[in-house]
Subunit: 269 residues, 2 copies
């Protein structure tokens, strides 16, 4: 079969539409690019459509196996010309394959032991990096509070490196939804550069939520209202702030450190 060469092809139009939030909402799907991410998507979700470069899978066992797995899972798998691949891809150098993956369905409510709230995080790289760290420390729920970047945007998906398939993600259009989603947590910890209480002086063995706020504007009124504890990240004199993804990640890893240490102390007894 000839590679698809028209940008009017319905599969091509679908994938292209997923580059913006309206298209993602209409088609209830998001764009996943590159071998590794599409592999993760094929294991965790059911990609609907996958478009690949003409020679993709022809001489590479890993690529060929991925195309078979996608087809077995019921995806439409089609070769497209390099020009069409560039048209649907969000990256400057397309990585050979892109797929349309359904947005996750709501899951039955389970009380998270650790949750993260993105409070107006605007930078896609920071949002994706926070999501990636959240998955690594075992955060069960990530809440996108109002004014936060759409976490299904292609740049966020790339930075998160597969974490979209490991953490339950909820978008909250109002802070009341955030409060409702955190009903079971014992403490809501707000990271705030100006606070002197250190993040490691919090007892992270409790059911907790961590709020990470906007890089430039700091915590929103909604975040301040629901926070029960404020913590700061100590910095050397003269240093004003950290990258938001770094600050959030440092705190999440302290939570993991405390939890693993507590578990091991328990076992030793």
């Amino acid at each position: 079969m000839e590679p698809i060469s028209s940008t009017d092809n319905p599969h091509v139009r679908l994938l292209r539409a997923l580059q913006d939030a309206r298209g993602r909402a209409r088609h209830r799907a998001f764009l996943v690019e590159g071998v590794r991410l599409v592999e993760t998507a094929a294991l965790a979700a059911r990609p609907r459509v996958a478009l690949h470069a003409p020679r993709f899978g022809a001489a590479d066992g890993r690529e060929a196996a991925l195309l078979r797995r996608l087809a077995d899972a019921g995806a439409e798998v089609r070769a497209v010309t390099e020009r069409v691949l560039a048209h649907v891809s969000d990256t400057v150098t397309p990585q050979g394959i892109v797929a349309a993956v359904p947005l996750p369905e709501p899951v039955p409510d389970q009380a998270p032991t650790l949750a993260v709230v993105l409070d107006g995080i605007g930078d896609p790289g920071n949002a994706g990096t926070l999501l990636r760290t959240a998955a690594a420390v075992g955060v069960e729920r990530l809440l996108c509070a109002p004014q936060t970047v759409d976490v299904y945007a292609p740049k966020v998906v790339r930075a998160a490196a597969g974490a979209h398939f490991a953490v339950e993600i909820r978008s909250a259009s109002a802070w009341a939804d955030v409060t409702a989603a955190l009903a079971s947590v014992e403490q809501v910890v707000l990271a705030d550069a100006r606070v002197s209480r250190r993040y490691w002086d919090v007892d992270w063995s409790k059911r907790s939520a961590l709020i990470v706020s906007n890089e430039a504007h700091g915590a929103s009124a909604g975040a301040r209202e629901i926070a029960t504890t404020h913590v700061g990240v100590p910095m050397a004199p003269g240093i004003e702030s950290l990258n938001a993804a770094v600050a959030g990640s440092v705190i999440l890893y302290e939570a993991l450190r405390q939890r693993i240490s507590a578990r091991e102390t328990e076992t030793e007894r």
Copy 2:
């Protein structure tokens, strides 16, 4: 005086040349953009030339004060047209002011208590973010091992948010130079995803260096050779890796946490 409108103007040519490594090496200077970063540069170094948008400083006290401070410090301060500003700027949306700042002179050797080695870090954002965290935790020396991105590239400078003026930076063209610069440290800790020893089980009160390796290729042969301790960052099952800047930052903050805690235990005695 009319704003400079020609890209052939020598000041304009100087700043433009600083966008690439060869120009920075020839002129022994680097490019700093935006009000906040140029303010930091004007406090910590002696910018040679500052070019600003026509209306910059006209109606804003902070901007006007910055122009005065630059002139007082001996910098050539000139208005340029928006087109010329875009020409010298590395950003899509120029931030009103750019300056040529001299590369720091070598400082008398002082034994660092905490050093960081960038081992082939290729992503400018990651290198800058690591440098920013290094400054925040009080790292005294940052070493750029072979294959590492030029930390004076504009994207690194932006991500580091002023940290270039807070940490001693050395570029090592060979691993022997790295070894020499770490002669006084007691342990060289290599972060390696595959190692089970946890980074918090290291005694960070010792004089230490942390090696953070390339995002995709892992530790280089040179890094493995000089490492005395290998540590991993624990991750949830199924998660393969963290962002390199996050992994490095998380470990650096554990070093700070241990050092502050030890200091306070000492004081309490």
